[in-house]
Amino acid sequence: MAELNFPELVQADRVHKSVYTDQQIFDKEMENIFEKVWVYCGHASQIPNPGDYYAVTIGRQPMLMVRAGDGTVHVLHNRCPHRGVQLVGNLKGNTGGAFVCSYHAWSFHLDGKVRAIPLARGYEGTAMNKSNPDCNVKRAARVDSYRGFIFASLVADGPSLLEFLGDARIAFDDMCDRSPVGEVEVVPYCHRMVQQSNWKFFMENQLDALHPSVTHQSTGISAGRVEKRIKEEKGSAPLHYHYLSTFASSFEQWDGVQTINFPRGHGILKAYMGLRPQDPDTLEYEAVLRSAYGEAKTEEYLSRSIHHVLVYPYLSVQSPLQQLRCLRPISPGKTLSEIWHFRLKGAPEAIYRRSLWYFNLVNSPATMINADDLENWTKAQWGLESDGGDWVSFHRNHGDDRVENGVSYSNHGTSEVVMRSQFQAWSKYMQGDAS
């Protein structure tokens, strides 16, 4: 196996195509990044009751997240320690008081400890008796949560969850602070979509401000035409037309939307949609927030300039509209994305319904936006698998960005500092530095 030379593959302003296509590099990504960093498992409200579980993939590892009788959430390998059979065969459910293996009925407490083995006397005098820790289901090394969002790490050492999130923790603060009680709860339907492309395309695309008016031109223009007609007829149009029409903003407008790029590859695309219309629903909602938090805090919470926040390498959180997309890489050219929506606890129903329009129009499997993104990434994957060239260019505005305390601020929204910053983090991880 050839030695991977990361400083050669990842240069300041370009990367080698193999980082998107090579199986050896993908395996190393799983080992050095996804199976070390804190990976999002789900929201606490997905498993409110003891025995509730969700299957989740961390790197290449099939895991499950389960609520125990004492309220603790455990993240376990989905594997019976006896002969290796997966303990749950579906995505979600309630396992009662224990997990039971379908092969030989070994059963396990919800924290993974072995509970009963049929005809246990058969193990008398062997090394595999109930006091042997090898009889327990293997657990994730660390589990932690932030504002109800549950994460696990498969290694015992490394940064804490809060250290890992760093400034990107604003994703969860911004989402929860918009609730008068500071909490969200999950909407219990997950859209799962397979992208026939490397996971990194999605992460780059989320903060790529040059592509929307090209890629999404057809939807933006079509929606803009209808929006304009409604405005002419009725004076104003519902916000959800704007969700779509804004994609067709000009290059110059997009160039004015700043990105902020943190260490560890996290980042923020600043707001551009204008989500504070002065309609009665919004005014009622803002009054609810003011009575909960007071004037100053409410203004702070509602005036944060965020379109979405990236938690590198796998999460895009659209906090102002309470939706989240989580990547589960499958192979160099195949990625599963899981798409969730949340309700602001205590907020008027109209605010949920407003953000639901974005979830339906942009994030559902009938999306009028990602249809064209997925087409781009599929073609990108094929292009990079070819011998038509070796390098991927990230030269736009290289050397032009403002860097303060390790954070890069783009002077131009379309600066490819986003990709340069993500690959800086990537290269560090791949060379074994997960600090």
């Binding site: 397979v194 031109q217 079509s222 339906n360 559902s364 499997p365 997925l374």
Partner: protein, 231 residues
């Protein structure tokens, strides 16, 4: 040769399971109910566990038993059936405006995420489109720069099992099944499920769609790529 060796081989080699097996065979389905006798196997180890239990407090979706058509006269059945075939053919022929014109002015196209959903205002949908949103989708796929429309792309619908569930006061509720094959580039995908149409008549007496509800049987499976147009 001893008497023992002359016994039939099968009787000697396969012992009877005896009363235990008889009791097992007598047991009814155990999911969600009491068992007929003492537990065996996994139930003996963990009686409360079922690998098929839903999240606590979330009952499984109760499927209604489909009723045969009783409401329609032969000519109404035939008219409705032809209308449903036309709906599907217009989609396959990419006659977007003619398809939209099948809907009443306040008509909607709805594809819920899951069969238990009864409304779209407070829960997510795969599609929920009135005629204005249909116009946006039509405009999008018709635009010269609709990049994802460049590859060859065709659909083929089959509609069957048409049953008029009710017909009163000018409102007709009709249930049917569909199967859609979709070709995109060189790959074929399959989608299937149930249509439930609420039909009304316009001033000229023509059928119009007030609501087309589409429950895909694979709506909660993972989607390889997306749905660009109505199913």
């Amino acid at each position: 040769m001893s008497a023992e060796a002359t016994k039939p081989l099968a009787a000697a080699a396969i012992p009877s399971a005896g009363a235990d097996m008889a009791r097992l065979l007598a047991q009814d389905v155990v999911i969600g109910g009491e068992t007929a006798g003492p537990a065996t196997g996994a139930q003996r180890i963990e009686p409360t566990h079922s690998p098929r239990a839903t999240l606590a407090g979330q009952p499984a979706f109760e499927r209604a038993v489909p009723r045969p058509e009783t409401a329609a006269a032969t000519d109404l059945h035939r008219e409705v059936e032809q209308f449903l075939y036309l709906q599907a053919e217009l989609l396959d022929d990419k006659q977007w405006q003619a398809w939209i014109d099948l809907f009443a002015a306040d008509g909607s196209y709805w594809m819920p995420v899951a069969p238990e959903q009864t409304e779209w205002e407070s829960s997510p949908s795969i599609f929920i489109e009135d005629k204005l949103l249909m116009e946006i989708r039509k405009g999008r796929v018709s635009h010269p720069n609709a990049w994802s429309q460049a590859p060859q792309w065709e659909t083929n619908h089959l509609v069957s099992h048409v049953a008029v569930e009710s017909s009163d006061g000018g409102t007709i509720v009709v249930r049917s099944r569909f199967h859609m094959m979709e070709l995109r580039r060189d790959a074929i995908r399959h989608f299937g499920g149930r249509y439930r149409h609420t039909l009304v008549r316009d001033a000229s007496g023509a059928l119009k769609i007030k609501l087309q509800r589409v429950d895909m049987f694979n709506s909660q499976a993972s989607f390889d790529y997306v749905l660009q147009i109505w199913v």
